[in-house]
Amino acid sequence: MPGIQFAYALNAWRPTYDTFVRPEQHARALKTVSVSGFRAVELNCGAGRWEPLGNLEMMEANHGSIAGFAAFLRSCGIDAVSSYFFDPGVFLSRAGIPLAAGKSADRAEIVERVHEYLILLSALGGNRLVVKPAPAYWRTGAPSKELLRNIADLWNEVGELATKQGIQVAMHLDCLSAVRTEHAIAELLGATDAKSVGLAIDTAEMVLAGLDPLAIYNRFTGRVNHVQFKDVLLRDELSEATQTNAELNFLSSGGSREVTRWFWEMGTTGGLVDFPAMLSAMQAGGYRGWIVVESDQTPYPATSAMLNGWYVKHKLASLT
């Protein structure tokens, strides 16, 4: 893979079963991303009508085949799907229920679900399966040895499958994750296979969780195989990301401060992430892979894509 390449995550358009479902809506989003300077996209995995870009069934229904979907992407100025984001806790099959990465009884089904995305990534030019590797902290507390072992076994098995297709697993630690300290990250990385499983750094999620993404990158340079760029204006100074039902009460509702929106475009006044420093460190560390720019939680996906595109072009491109 040549050096650093930028992609854009389509999660800002927030597909649900009844919004952002029509191919013409997808085309407008993809064209917006393309004309903003991004030629690849990251998509979410998910079942049926709940995630219309996230499964083979809907892809075939809308575009006939994977090749038809690839042609659709190209017709919008998008060359590749850089990566799929795979969260076992969402509906990955129409019949299924949310699965748990830390539960050994779910392992076989999770591995089974992965196959579809390895096929899709191979066909669509991507090479990273970005996974949500661990449960939220509030469900398990600090990860036990057993939990870490279960998680590592799962992602090692997925990684072994993925590498056969030229794909790596990237473990994405969000601000709610049970794995939320440098020590826990080191343990998890130590238990996983460096050839097939790496760390995804999401700048804003880490800052919100109280971590320093630059320090994390510098410590685990050789294991970072995926990066997501988005900004954040606040840290979780009240430790609410670890409280019960944090997905709803913290991430979605904004916690007791009722923060309307945690995540922001690069270049936002007051942003806590130092992107040029991050990129410089990645250059120095020999990073070769994707930087996926995200704007989840934006009320204005098109505006965010353009502002992020401007930032890449005017502030980051000269560093690559």
């Binding site: 917006t32 393309s34 004309v35 505006t303 502002l307 595109g309 401007w310 005017h314």
Partner: protein, 312 residues
Amino acid sequence: MPNLRWSYMDHWRERSPRGLITQYASVRSMDRFIKQLAVLGFEGIDTFFFSLPQFDAMFGSLAKFEDFMRERGVQKIVNVFFAKPNATAGFAFHERSDHDNIVRTCETIMERCRDISVEGLIVMPTNTYWQMEPVDDEKIAIIAELWNRVGEMTRRYGAKTSIHHEFWCGIRTPEQIDRFYELTDPELVYFFCDTAQHVIAHVDPVALYEKYHARCSGFHFKDTHNLDTTADFRRPPDAELLSPTVERWFWEMGTSGGLVDFPALMHAMKRHAYQGWVALEHDKADIGGSNYAEATAVGKWYADNVLTPIYR
């Protein structure tokens, strides 16, 4: 060096925690606006005469506003648009007695732009159709006199006066348009091609451009899904904003159902070796739940991916 440079005709709105705002709400909003245009590859903006004081208020001068734009990747204000749709006191274009006032008003605009290199004053040539009908040769002649005077004035400022034919103005049919250009000086009064406005009025913008290419100073590239089939053009009080038959007249390029043949126009521009600015426009883009940001991105995507391969 490309033959075409892309400008954005400003109708921008965005939703905010305070409700709908324009980019004039704050310097931060303006910063976001200009960056969005810059990343799409726009080199200039076209703006309205009534926006000029707002730039002054925000930045101290138009020159300082242009500095602000250039720091973000957009180079200049290309054109200023002037219109007085309502025939209010002193602004009835078909009344000679109002001409001194109108010329003075246009000169005030140009004077305000003295320190920057605005290239054109784009004008709606008349009031609404219903406020000046019947349209006859005598009225067209009076209006031609006015714009010859304005053209002479703007030439002193190094800018062209160009006529933008709204489908609901008084010079809208091929016959009216021909008569008007016969009566105006080609060195002083130029043709400005707004693709959607002509199509709505049942006028082929490609044929019109072919006819007046030598006098064409620029374009508004925007689309429409509807022809005016019920004489909306003459319906009070406002055919463009309050038509009972069509809720949204204007669309960004590249939508399903668009009636403007942009590729054909690009081929014509190539044939005539047009060199200059093309402005992307899609006023009223947010009617029906869309938004200006996405409409602008999709429109510019169409320009880059469909039109530029024809002529650049």
